[in-house]
Symmetry: C2
Subunit: 192 residues, 2 copies
């Protein structure tokens, strides 16, 4: 998957490993994380597979650039992948894993947890501005037929964030109700 993501970026114009890293960091961070170590490893593999070719560009006062370009066979592979209906839908969600076992802690502690989580934002501006770095933004201007899909992924991020906030509110209310019930039970015990 990461492999094909990198291939897609190179398809939109030859790039160095460093440039690919910045696109992941600035424009795809809301649905995929990638470290340089992984990017350089995938680039090696893809070169071996013949999907991309490497051109060394000497620079003055800096290390040489390794610019990667897509090959015809790489472009074929990109289309094959896009058309492949096989789609892993699973996602391992560490937050839900914790939630599942929160019964071990008192509700007060868990309430604090949900309140903190509710206030976390992936899109600092509320998702109003496009989450694209300068280079991607320029590309979006030239290729609106591609940028449509980029906007769709940003919209997903925005909707996901909203849903997550709503879920947190729901959890907070559920736990507050639970606390109230427990308190009134205590009162009854006192009276009897």
């Amino acid at each position: 998957m990461l492999r094909h993501g990198i291939l897609g970026l190179i398809n939109n114009g030859a790039k160095t490993g460093y440039e690919i890293m910045t696109v992941f960091r600035d424009s795809l961070h809301h649905f995929w994380a990638a470290q340089t170590s992984q990017i350089y490893r995938e680039l090696r593999t893809m070169e071996r597979l013949g999907w991309i070719t490497q051109t060394r560009v000497p620079q003055s006062g800096r290390p040489d650039k390794n610019v990667f370009s897509i090959t015809p066979s790489g472009h074929e592979e990109l289309l094959r992948w896009l058309r492949d209906p096989d789609m892993p839908l699973k996602f391992n969600n560490p937050f839900l894993m914790k939630t599942f076992f929160m019964g071990e802690l008192p509700p007060e502690e868990n309430l604090a947890f949900f309140r903190a989580f509710r206030d976390i934002a992936v899109f600092p501006d509320g998702g109003k501005q496009a989450a694209l770095n300068a280079d991607m933004y320029r590309q979006a201007m030239d290729h609106p037929e591609k940028a449509i899909y980029w906007k769709l992924t940003i919209e997903f991020g925005r909707m996901y964030e909203k849903m997550q906030r709503e879920w947190c509110e729901y959890c907070i209310h559920t736990l507050e109700d639970f606390q109230r019930i427990m308190e009134s039970k205590k009162e009854e015990e006192k009276e009897s």
Copy 2:
């Protein structure tokens, strides 16, 4: 994370690797996938760490059971993990990765893709019934203070699924509009 999930399950009662596998498959599948190969590996590690102990139970006509129980130090670790604010929030979403590069294909193909995705359901009953297997269900009866949190994770799954469907609808409308604009452009060109 998987490690601590398994620890949490064993904390709710001693279990074999097989039983742990069934709980993941039947009750946690909407937020975490785990194969037996991984489960047995984690069990080894956790035994080495002293979080759990293993008891061999001979059976007639079947392989021996390896029943794992939590140790005091394992329970401490469970609480430490639950209280640890460090929370990886990232999720690598293969569906969004594909969406991002769909500009390479004609809108018709992508529309088919989104329509198929919209109709996929993780909760076959629409999420009305609790996604808990028999054993978990029994436990939920005895421990409502734990089951609250189990229900919260199921509610998340339900909300996520709804959001995903709504996003697909949004994508479908966006692409249909795009197609209409492209068609009227063609008409204009014909006329001039």
